[in-house]
Every structure is written in C-alpha cells, then in structure tokens.
C-alpha cells in the first residue's frame, strides 16, 4: 500500500545514537571552551599581568585628557613667581596680567583656589587654608620643609615628609613644597589653548570677536588677510598641531579610498578569469585563483612592510598594501558572484544577436552590480579602520601620529583629541557608505 511506504521508518537504535551524540556535544563543547580559556589564562600569564597592571595610569589619562592645570610656582633659586599653563615656558603669563584668582605682590602672593581654599605665599612660607581642616603652614628651609599642621589626625590627602609636603585636599587643588620651590596647581576642565596658541594675538577671543575680526579690514598681520591669518594661527597651533592632524586624517582616508577602488578595478576583470562559466581553460582558472589566494594570504601586514621598504612612508604605501590584499579578497568574492549568475539573462541577450561585449555589458554586469557595489562599500568601511592600523606600522597617517603622541606620553589631551577625531572619521565613513549602499541597491529594487 502506498501509505505504508510513506510512513516514516523509525529505527530506535538510530534515534538513540543521535540523542546520545547530541548529549555528548552539549556537555563536551562548553567543557572544551572552558578548558581552552583556562589554558590561555596560563599561556597569557594573566595573573602576572594583573599584578603588574598600572591602573593609576588609566586614571592619569582620564583626568588629564579632560582637564588642564595652571601652575603658580615660586622658585627660590631664581626668586621669582611664575604663573603658567601646565608649567610650560611658552604658556607663561606676564606678571602684570595674571588670572584674577592670583594676586601677586612682589615676593609674596595670594592664590584663591575657590570653595574657600586659599594659599598665601610669604617669603619661603606657604599658608594653605583648607576649609573643614584648618591652616597648614609650611616653610622651606635649607634642609627640607618644616610643617605645622592643625591638631588632630593627619588626613589621607596630605603627605607630610621632612623633604616634601604634598597636599591635595580635592582632585583639582594641590600644593607642593620642597626645599627649592613652592608650587600650586589649580585644575580647570577643558582643553587649554585649543583654538589658538598662548602667544597668539587671537588667544582668548570669543567667536563673535573672531567673526568681527575676520570681516574687518585692519590687518593683524600685514602679509595676510585676517581670515587667512585666523585659519593659519589655528592650523599652526604648536600644542595641538591641528594642521598635521588633519593632513594625517586625510592621508588615512586617501589610503582607504584609493586602495579599495584600485582593488575593485583589478579584482573585477580577474574575477572573470577565475569564474568557471566564463573561463573554460582550467589552467588559467587555477592560476588566477591561486593568485587571489596568494594576494590574500600574504596579508596587509607583510605587504605594507614590503612597500615601506620600496616606497618609503606615506599614503601611497598604505594604498598599495590595501589594494594588493583586497584585489585577492574582492576578486574571490566577485568570481563567486559570477559563478552564481542566472544564465537565462545572458542567453536572452545573446538571442537578440548581441556581441560578446554586449552580452557581458547587458547580460552579466547588471546581475553582479549589486554584489559589486555592496562589497566594495563594505571593504571601504573596514579599510578605513585597517588604514589606521597599517599607518601605525609605519605607513603614516593618523595611526603613526597616534603611536607617536602615545610614546611621548605627556599630553594626553592630544591623544584623546586624535582618538576622538579618528573615531568620528570612521563612523562618518561607516554612515556614508551604508547610506550609499541603501541608495544604490535598495533604491534600485523599489524603483
């Protein structure tokens, strides 16, 4: 009977074998993963790493990247009082124009740190008035410092040593006294000198003032127009190096764009040679496929090292490294797309008497165009990120700049500025490429 043959044949042994296999997999797979993680825990020596970690570095980086400090220093050797941003010589205030929270009076000074905290410097003695604690009186002597503290327990934020006094009652106020100097740090939020260098005539001007200045005919610098002068001062800011950062970003984008377009242009024709339905010659097909594997397998890392040797540092090196690797990847993807096309469309075009080129143009290209565009855009996106990394290997661009600023490890606000700009650029590339993809591919479907 027909119904008998349709009845599913259940063999109990088979079922049990499958169930047992599944059960083993469910137990063994998590076990294997855990075992692997334990193994790598020891292989990476994570416990040793954790003991050597320096979390305070992260804290320094975090505070320093969002705040800056102004130093008020009395140096006994030179005998003078100085007010400077980050203690830098290039950003020292004129003693006649110090900020209004500092009062200078010859050898003496009065510093108002806000919230009731004040420091008075008289000769070699500093009086630090801390609300809720009392007056700390410190005198620098020939051997070290002598400190008189208020009665009671010494708080955590105070380090009283015969050689140095370090008082930091809150994160943004600090007094240090040693044999040679008295130094007060007052912290402020934000990035100092971000727009213009301290010595620039434009320093501290508001946006509307700048706007008025840009339109005014009185030239600050007789050689340039005011607008150009403003742009020039901004880009040439020695602390932030806006100009260099923008050029580096531009280089990185250029590497990604040039590399991806070049790879696509070389990958497409080669893909025809690697596709079964377009190249009957097996030798040619095999050769092209191995070429793709070779280009991909060498990897961007090795390509960029080779190109750096040949062409030196710069965007050209990065672009070529990306182009070589991705010719392989894109070529492989395109050839797979070509093998999956619908042959009926090609035959239809052929039936109208089209030539070989016309068959490709109207029968093949329209079918793989969506794959082509979307893959190229995906690669453009990921190459923007790759370009920052191969830049750090030495190809230049924003990656190299980032590594360099991190190595000097002094101005963390510069590092975070570069990081923020890089991420903004990557996100912008991401968004614009997915916008383009939607327009080009989905727009076509609905239209």
């Amino acid at each position: 009977m027909a119904t008998d043959t349709l009845e599913p044949v259940v063999i109990l042994d088979d079922v049990w074998r499958n169930v047992r296999r599944r059960a083993w997999i469910t137990v063994l797979a998590p076990f294997a993963v855990v075992a692997y993680l334990v193994y790598t825990w020891f292989a990476f020596d994570v416990s040793d790493l954790l003991s050597r970690a320096q979390p305070e570095r992260a804290a320094i980086l975090a505070t320093d990247s969002v705040a800056y400090k102004v130093h008020v220093t009395k140096n006994f050797r030179r005998g003078e009082l100085e007010v400077a941003i980050e203690g830098e010589r290039t950003a020292t205030y004129d003693n006649a124009e110090v900020p209004d929270w500092v009062t200078l009076d010859g050898e003496n000074a009065f510093v108002d740190l806000g919230d009731g905290y004040t420091v008075e410097i008289k000769g070699k003695t500093a009086y630090f008035d801390v609300p809720g604690y009392g007056m700390i009186e410190t005198t620098a002597t020939a051997k070290g410092v002598e400190t008189r503290l208020p009665e009671g327990e010494v708080p955590d934020w105070l380090k009283d040593d015969p050689r140095k006094l370090d008082a930091r009652p809150s994160l943004d106020k600090r007094l240090q006294v040693t044999r040679t100097k008295i130094e007060i740090h007052n912290y402020f939020g934000g990035w100092e000198n971000f727009w213009f260098p301290f010595r620039s005539p434009l320093y501290g001007k508001s946006f509307s003032q700048l706007y008025a200045l840009a339109l005014s005919a009185d030239r600050l610098d007789p050689d340039y127009s005011n607008l150009w002068f403003i742009v020039h001062e901004f880009l040439g800011n020695p602390d932030w190096q806006h100009g260099d950062v923008f050029v580096a970003l531009f280089e990185t984008i250029m590497m990604a764009v040039l590399g991806t377009i070049t790879a696509a242009l070389f990958g497409l024709p080669l893909a025809f040679l690697a596709a079964r339905n377009f190249t009957p010659s097996q030798v040619l097909r095999f050769g092209t496929r191995r070429l793709f594997d070779f280009l991909r397998g060498i990897d961007m890392l090795i390509w960029s090292l080779i190109f750096i040797r040949a062409f030196g540092l710069g965007p050209l090196t990065g672009a070529l490294a990306i182009a070589f690797t991705d010719t392989g990847s894109l070529g492989k993807l395109f050839s797979e797309a070509l093998e999956n096309i619908d042959n009926r469309q090609v035959e239809g075009v052929k039936a109208t008497g089209a030539s070989q080129i016309q068959r490709y143009r109207f029968g093949v290209i329209p079918q793989i165009l969506p794959v082509f565009v979307s893959q190229v855009l995906y690669y453009l996106e990921s190459n923007t990120r790759s370009a920052t990394v191969i830049g750090a290997l030495g190809a230049g661009g924003i990656g190299l700049l980032l590594v360099e600023t991190m190595k000097t490890s002094r101005d963390w606000e510069n590092t975070s500025y570069i990081i923020i700009l890089t991420i903004v650029v990557v996100i912008a590339m991401d968004q614009s490429s997915s916008w383009l993809r939607r327009r080009l591919i989905e727009g076509k479907k609905s239209g």
């Binding site: 692997y36 594997d293 991909r296 996100i427």
Partner: protein, 282 residues
C-alpha cells in the same frame, strides 16, 4: 500616440542614466588620478624610484633564506610558539567577542522579542564598538597593562562583539517566528524561547559567521603584535628592526604567517560550506 510618448520617456530616462553613469565614472577616475598623484607627492619615496627597488627587499630576504639552507626549516619551527600565541589571541578574542555578540544580538532584535526600549540603545552601542579601530583600544590597554597579548585580545574581542553582533541580529531578523509562538503558547519564559526556538534556527549561520571572523581576527592579531601586543607580530618587528642579516628569520616568519593564514582560510571556508551550503560560503 501613447506609445510614442512612452518611447520618449524611456529615451529620456536612458539619457539620464547614461549621464549619471558617466558622471560617476568620471568621479572615480578623477579621485584615482588626483589621489595617486597627491599621495605620490606626500610619500617620502616616489613611485617610480621605488619601482626598481620593489623586488630588492623580497629578493634580499629570499637570498638570505636560501643561504640558510635546511636550517631555514628549523627557523620556521622556532617561531611556532609565537604563531601559536597569535592564534590564541585570535581564538580567545573570537570566543569572548562571539559570546558577547550573541547577548547583544538577542537584546537588539524585535523578531526574538527583545525588550523594546533596549533595542535602539544596544544597536548604537554595537555601532560604536564596531567603529573603534582595534589599534586604539590595544594601544591604550598596552599603556595601562604593559606589553602582553591580553590588550590585543581585549581590543580584538571588543571589535568582534560589535561586528558579529550586527551580523547575528541580521540573522535573527530572518528566522521563522512560529516556533517562538508555539513555545509562548506553552508558557515558556524568554530564555527558554531563545534556547529552544531561536538558537536551533540560527546556530549554523552563527557558527559560519564565527569562523569567518576567526579568519579575520588571526590577521588582526598578527598586525597588533607589531605595535607591542606579543605573538608573531612582535617577533617580526624584532627581526625587521635588526635590518640586514636577519633576513632568514624574517622570511621564516613570512612563510609561517602565510601558511597559517592560508590553512585557516581553507579550513574555515570548508567548514562554512558544510554548515550553510556551498552556495553561500561567504
């Protein structure tokens, strides 16, 4: 009459399209030409001068490797532990990132009954995780934790979580909802629904993307080694830094890296083919 008008319209549409294609093509050519000439200018060495030197370095390495003779294979074996470290970085990063991605994907797809208000938040989070170049996270962690494979692992895992999370949630969007509804009717909790209705449907695709990512991560970990994260990249930087004389070691690393990447590529595309059918191997 109507046919003539239609023909007119089709012709004008075609003209428009041809114009747009033309403009697009010109734009691409302009970008290529101006970009290459500009970057040639910005490069410290020019293209034409460099072209003659292109084979110098590979040649130098090959000659030195040839001179090393059979000892060359000893060198290749010598760098095995470093390569293994790179593979471990990629492996752990893919595992941890993948696990994280599953959580993110389950929290960000309407189709699997994620909690509504969470969906846009998690999606933006994944966008940001994807946008972070691995280099930045790695450099920051190397600064805090010191030179070790762990910073690279965390950096790669972070990016992987975002990238895979997006792909996984796309897979989630295409599943059949009937098993979920069936389980809901029996009073299954959300976790039970995910475990018994969603996971069996998405597992093959997840595994396939997971393998693809492993492939990508091996390359990424090798590169990150170069900025001080350990593994084969660090060895490579050492031998390259020595300049002349270490060419055989550099060549050994190149060969090892090439063979490993090829092997992983082949293995993963074979396994992916088995998982989701050869037609959608990528």
């Amino acid at each position: 009459m109507a046919v003539a008008a239609l023909e007119q319209e089709i012709l004008s549409l075609r003209k428009h399209r041809q114009l747009y294609s033309m403009i697009g093509l010109l734009l691409v050519v302009a970008v290529l030409v101006s970009g290459y000439s500009k970057s040639n200018e910005m490069n410290s060495g020019g293209f034409l001068q460099g072209l003659s030197k292109f084979f110098d370095y590979p040649g130098e390495i090959v000659v030195e490797a040839w001179q090393a003779g059979p000892a060359f294979f000893g060198l290749v074996v010598h760098f095995f532990p470093a390569m293994l470290e790179t593979l471990n970085i990629a492996g752990v990063a893919t595992l941890l990132g993948g696990a994280m991605a599953i959580v993110l994907a389950m929290a960000s797809t309407r189709n699997v009954d994620s909690w509504g208000p969470l969906i846009p938040v998690v999606r933006r989070m994944m966008d940001i995780m994807r946008a972070f170049p691995e280099l930045i996270v790695a450099l920051f962690l190397i600064f805090v934790l010191g030179s070790s494979p762990v910073p690279a692992m965390i950096a790669v895992a972070f990016h992987t979580a975002g990238a895979l999370g997006k792909l996984f949630s796309e897979v989630n969007e295409n599943i059949d909802r009937r098993p979920i509804e069936g389980l809901t009717a029996c009073g299954a909790s959300w976790l039970q629904r995910i475990r018994f209705a969603v996971m069996p449907q998405v597992a093959p695709n997840y595994l396939s993307y997971f393998l693809l990512r492993l492939e990508i991560n091996v390359r990424a970990s090798a590169i990150l080694g170069f900025v001080g994260a350990g593994g084969i990249g660090q060895e490579l930087r050492r031998t390259i830094g020595w300049g002349k004389g270490a060419g055989d070691e550099t060549a050994a690393i190149f060969v090892l890296l090439f063979l490993t990447i090829m092997a992983i590529d082949q293995l993963s595309s074979y396994l992916r083919g088995k998982l989701v059918g050869s037609g959608r191997a990528h």
